[in-house]
Amino acid sequence: MFFILLKKELFIEFRSREVVLSMLIFGLSIILAFAFTSNVSKVIVSNNAPGMFWIMILFVSVLGVHRTFSYEKNFDAFSMLISAPIDRGIIYLSKWISGTIFLTLMQLVIIVPFFKFLLLDLPSNFILFISTMILVNLAIMSVAILVSGIVMRANFSEVLVPILFFPLVSPVIIAATKISSGVLAETAYQLWQFWLLIIMSIIVIFALAGYTLFDFITEE
């Protein structure tokens, strides 16, 4: 059932390209803002590049998650989805994995403009950068999908998602910045392995919480 739901999410996105495309355009606009506010000063940008990158991803993920749920709000499709005789935790898992795939796809496209527009060198260990990025994406989406699932059918959900999501995801942002700084500076793995543990803990805790709670929060 999980794969059917995941296929549904991917199929809808493949047809409309709404989520990835909107995230991508928004991400590019944020890069522009970063370039203007930092005067593309090599010192400012290179010191803050990992932080800037994850701030951009944070904003973009809010938009992506909102889009993921909003098309199911139309015609009350979500009510029909949860009326299906399936474990609702699986709906959370499918949205979490599909959200991570969309975010990763968007990042794979935006990573080059991000570094090139800000006049930075691309990460020398590109594979390691991408691998850690996917892990962080899993953590970000585990929180984002749960928060969106909670407030999706509330009034002003577009306001409530970032208000709840940003403080909840703060440990992920700290850890992501530390990991990316370590990878970009090519420091030893031992210096940033603690932050990988933080990311893993968040993935486990929020995935379990999301799987368990989604059954309750999606009740009619």
Binding site: V151, R153, L164, L168, P171, A175, W195, I198, A209, L213
Partner: protein
């Protein structure tokens, strides 16, 4: 309020806690030793740390109430969660006010991203979101479930937030509790007394607030 305190036990508890609070103020002001270099500023700890303890205890109660709400499907647990969230936020606000008041003369700045205070601030922000969901979340039955879920995940996030903030800036470790361990022996007993009194105040406030919310609920159901 009148009906709650018509109960003799509640009235006795109120008077008892009131006397203890007055005693606590007197004890902190006149019976605790002055700490060199900190003088009167140090006395804020007898309020700051117990407030933090009560605030985190209250948020723990919100999590337990959230779990119980899902298990028992009883509105009583939603009322407990709401009451604990409100009181917890009052005490956490007190922590965020008293912390910088102490920090200004001691550290020279009101805010230095000290891990415990930062964790408290993040939790405070999450609970602002919690109250926003409560206020304009929409359907009343759904809001109860949303609030219970947020209460659970907020507390689950606390240890990770604390750990990550602590290692984010390891050089900032000058916290009240760390300082307290270095202080003279005369400080510990009044501090523990203050902690117990604050806990009793919290229990009284929680019971009263649950009572008020239950009356409000009954009124809404009867309309």
């Amino acid at each position: 309020m009148v009906t709650f305190f018509k109960n003799k036990n509640n009235m006795f508890f109120l008077i008892f806690v009131g006397i203890l609070l007055l005693f606590n103020i007197y004890n902190i002001s006149f019976n605790t030793p002055m700490v060199p270099d900190q003088h009167w500023a140090q006395k804020i700890f007898y309020v700051h740390v117990p407030s933090a303890w009560v605030g985190f205890l209250s948020y723990f109660v919100v999590m337990i109430a959230g779990i119980m709400f899902f298990v028992k499907r009883n509105d009583y647990w939603d009322n407990v969660g709401l009451a604990a969230a409100e009181i917890g936020t009052i005490f956490i606000s007190l922590v965020l006010i008293t912390g910088p008041i102490w920090a200004t003369p001691i550290w020279g700045k009101p805010w230095i991203w000290e891990p415990r205070l930062t964790t408290t601030l993040i939790l405070f922000l999450i609970y602002i979101g919690y109250f926003m969901v409560r206020s304009f979340g929409g359907h009343i039955e759904r809001v109860k479930r949303y609030a219970a879920s947020i209460g659970i995940i907020a507390f689950l996030d606390v240890p990770i937030i604390f750990l990550s903030v602590q290692f984010w800036a390891p050089e900032i470790q000058s916290h009240p509790q760390v300082e307290m361990a270095k202080q003279p022996a005369g400080i510990l007993i009044p501090f523990l007394i203050s902690l117990c009194i604050f806990t009793l105040v919290y229990i009284l406030m929680l019971r009263y607030r649950i009572y008020v919310i239950q009356i409000k609920d009954k009124l809404i159901k009867n309309v």
